[in-house]
Symmetry: C2
Subunit: 377 residues, 2 copies
């Protein structure tokens, strides 16, 4: 337990709630979930499911219709044929990550991942007594692992790498040719790739491809949370290689029994034309926010060396203002009522020089946040 | 992964589905979830939550109002005061079990539990590289651990015991005085008790008390699935001792983020007078089913030495008919269209001589099942 870190932003969030309770307004730029509610057609499908009494367990791997719909989506969006047999519906992407790490990692095994990165990833590895090896990455590789980095850090104990594209906290996307090279480098060493694609729908113009296009040995994590706006429903999925499907299924039976039944029925509507149109409109809105916030932060003096192509985060070098980003974030909250996430929540590589801005607020609020920051910086 | 067993009943269930697809009717006495849908007031609360847009993450420990409502329920039902701070809402009891085992167990640590027992329990322990030590139990101790058994099997590596009352697959309840003695025996050795109370509402006349009445060091698992009929919603809770709350919370943040938001809002209605009345009526119905099925199975030649006081299971010795309960269950399915669960799903102690009957069907179906069995036995 001592190796599992809490989210440091939670202390900040608690302070923000205190300030709000005392009557101050806080601009929340720390929150990693869309501000949009779940789209109306998905809500309606959820209500219908309840009305029809869909409240009992599904099979551990999920509703057959939903697994098929996800498979169809890979064909439609990426031109990749995936058997629905390989798709397991899980309680959030968290459930899928837990399956993937538990399947691949034995005690003492190493898995390589980018630092900075999503903090839970290393804790899923730690839970099963593996070792998550953070590789320091910076703007020169788009804050992503590369085939060259993998080759340099691979050793006899290394079993896998974990990639995320678009990534949290940096929003960067791995270019398709680099992704292919990464997968090839790992598989040449007999390893496996866990690929986090939970922000895949939220990409602003960059070319993108699912890792499944390059290999059927990759374990892909995805979710209805971000692009489909279903965070609180807790629904994700794992695409497993053929030889991992049996293990994933028996593990899911034991760890979760199944994902939420009402959520699975609701999610069927996420692929409908009406819900897709809403998701696409929201994607455009996120892009507009990025295009507003990025130059505004640069103008304030934050160093953001590359333009991220996805998710809803900007990972900013605040070295001009501080050498302690946690205290900096606390100070900004107290003095300007703007909440952001300190780098310490994302790893060990230069966390004190970085903060994460989330653009999960409408542009007027973002503008207000920028204005408040301008006054104190 | 090799140590994690699949549910063997799944193969049986698949065969049952084939028979049904071919036009035969199957009496399902293998299913461990209530046949009742979620009660209408809970459904209505879920629909209202969706209408009001409650679709984003809650705090990792759950909605404050739900934690308070659960605490109030301990006061009302058991006269035990529990701070809501100690209550974490989880994705099913599965989530709570995962938190409890991950908090208590380091690699190589042992935890004692009854054999037969719920199969997932030992797999949660295995996941974190602990050792689940099944203690063979039989009718002489009500298929439960006793203080004497704990004392006999405790060693330097033992860190905890796991109890379930009412238990799956046996339906037996630990008498309050024995429960107090068990907890005292474990705590005298510096160990902890994980107490599974997920069938607590479904008790038919036996005296019962929550483990929390005897110690504030126990980790109690509970769920909205069984008594409140919310299986598919995936919602449970953990009551943690004060010194485990911080660990449970940071682990929940990392492993689950939070439990389902619509489910949490729906569950608030489970404690209302209308939903409670429905739950109580269902409890009476389960009791009537037990009172029908138990003598009927005994008359057929199944040996059920004690009358279980809770849950919706009968654990029957089928030694008069077979020395291979798995083949026996398959044969009954083929020849009579009755599906039951073989003992092998519940541990290593005499599994071949036992099968589990679930009375999650109305009495007319149970009667039809008994009649079909009578014809082939």
């Amino acid at each position: 337990m001592a190796d599992i870190a809490p989210f440091h932003v939670m202390a900040l969030l608690a302070r923000a709630r205190e300030l709000e309770a005392a009557g101050r307004t806080v601009i929340h730029m720390e929150i990693g979930e869309p501000d949009f509610p779940t789209a109306e057609p998905i809500i309606a499908a959820g209500q219908r499911a309840l009305l029809e009494g869909h409240t009992r367990y599904t099979a551990a791997a999920g509703l057959p219709a939903l697994r098929q719909a996800i498979a169809d989506q890979y064909q439609a969006r990426y031109g990749v044929a995936i058997s629905p047999r390989r798709i397991l519906v899980t309680p959030g992407a968290s459930g899928a990550l837990q399956l993937a790490t538990a399947i691949l990692i034995d005690p003492g095994d190493r898995i390589l991942l980018a630092d900075p990165g999503y903090p839970c990833n290393r804790h899923f590895v730690r839970l099963v007594e593996g070792e998550a090896v953070g590789i320091p990455v910076g703007p020169e590789t788009g804050y992503q692992l590369t085939a060259e980095l993998v080759e340099r850090h691979w050793d006899a104990r290394t079993k896998a790498i974990l990639l995320a594209s678009p990534a949290n906290p940096t929003g960067t996307v791995i270019p398709p040719d680099e992704l292919a090279a990464l997968i090839a480098a790992v598989e040449a060493r007999g390893g496996r790739v866990i690929m986090d694609e939970i922000y895949h729908g939220l990409i602003y113009g960059a070319p993108v491809q699912t890792a499944l296009a390059y290999s059927d040995q990759v374990l892909v994590i995805n979710s209805f949370s971000k692009y489909y706006g279903m965070t609180g429903w807790r629904l994700g999925w794992l695409v497993a290689p053929d030889d991992c499907v049996g293990a994933a299924e028996k593990l899911a039976q034991n760890l979760f029994l199944a994902a939420s039944t009402p959520a699975q029925h609701a999610a069927l509507a996420a692929f409908g034309a009406e819900a897709q149109a809403i998701s696409e409109a929201r994607r455009h809105e996120f892009q507009a926010r990025r295009d507003f916030l990025l130059p505004a932060l640069r103008e304030l003096g934050f160093h953001i060396p590359i333009t991220p192509d996805g998710a809803f985060y900007l990972y900013a070098d605040c070295g001009r203002f501080t050498d302690n980003s946690y205290e900096f974030a606390l100070r900004l909250l107290e003095e300007s009522g703007v909440a952001i996430t300190p780098g310490i929540d994302f790893g060990h590589h230069l966390p004190n020089r970085h903060v994460r801005f989330a653009y999960t607020n409408a542009i007027p609020q973002l503008a207000e946040g920028v204005e408040r920051l301008r006054r104190v910086l």
